[in-house]
Amino acid sequence: MPFCAGPLPHTRVDPLTKTIESALPLDRETLADLVEAIAERGDRAAFARLFAHLAPRLKAFLMRLGASAGTAEELVQDVMLTIWRKAASFDRRQSSVTTWTYTIARNRRIDLIRRETRPDLDPEEPALQPSAPVAADTALEVERRDAALRMAIAELPEEQADLLRLAYYEGKSHSEIADIRNLPLGTVKSRMRLAFNRLRRAMEPFQ
């Protein structure tokens, strides 16, 4: 059985990813509950649900970055295994599960696609370090911040959204983006900064 259903009845075209967006199958709190269930009691059913949500997204993400379908699936397995082993280092008050997963995938991609080797999992990997405790009310702030960020991303002008896609989805450095889009490097950097300033302004009230 495939893990992701086709487009759901309530769909819209996402202006950033230019894809049909389906309703989110699992919300932020549910995802965090699943990771905590893994951390607390090695809950395999919770892990399976998490896999169903994250694996197809991670696969798509890694393929956009240039991995073949086969390599992408291997990396997905790798990232999910890391999540299983290191679930206890996740802190819902610090970030969402998707952001935590993103940083693990990003760092593993740097290790694996660039080095083309399979180093052992680094126990000191920064994404896996337990973070300093934060005040309880910041958890809600982080959640509001992510919601504001989501809105702001959807409203970015196309020329800025384009650069974000190239950086995050295709792993292009600023100078590579300048070549691809035939823009001066300074223009790429200033547009990037414009985009992030917008996003930052949206997040500011919550920091």
């Binding site: 952001t99 993103y102 990003r106 991609r109 000191e124 960020l149 995050y168 600023h174």
Partner: protein, 223 residues
Amino acid sequence: MTPSHHVPFDLLMERAAGTLSPAMALFVDTHVALCPLCRGQLRALEAVGGEMLERIAPVAMSAGALDRMMALIGAEAQPRPIMAATGMDFDGDPAFTRLPSVLRPVWARSRPRHDWRKVFSGVSMMDLDVPENHDGKVLLTVIEGDKGIPRHSHRGREAIIVLSGAFQDEFGRFGKGDVCFCDGAMTHKPVAEPGEICVALAVLELPVQLTGVLGFVQRVLGH
């Protein structure tokens, strides 16, 4: 104390997107470990990455992927608790105890292959092994109090971050967590403040070129 010289926002953006070289990624991670301000900014930029991952159009995993995954974790009884920092043998190395935790594994994997070299009076350096770093060097530098590195220019770009103690040069005072960037156009003469040793991490694109007599010696020696 919060650093007063920060990494530029461009570098935080590229770190979040994962497009820096491993050496520069390590450099940014080191600053972020010591700077709450930049840490907050990087976390926000990573949240953009998380949002990008959340909204990507999913691609179905192949048949049997979940079964293979469950078999893989089935081999592990329980998730492992987080390990405390591994008790590494640091030979009483004075630099080691001053490293932020992000640098300790790099130090541990480099130490068996590289020794501290006394480079000048009161100045020692040790190479760090960072993958895919063909055209540069990553160095740990220890400068004893009141000692310094002779005036030098740079053939390539150099990024320096102070991990402990402080140094001063023509461009200012650099304390714990502060970064400075040098390029070919500038020369400087960093001197550690009296007292505490100054430990710094340097990412060099090309070997540093010394000016003056030592530069001549360096060129003769073919470095």
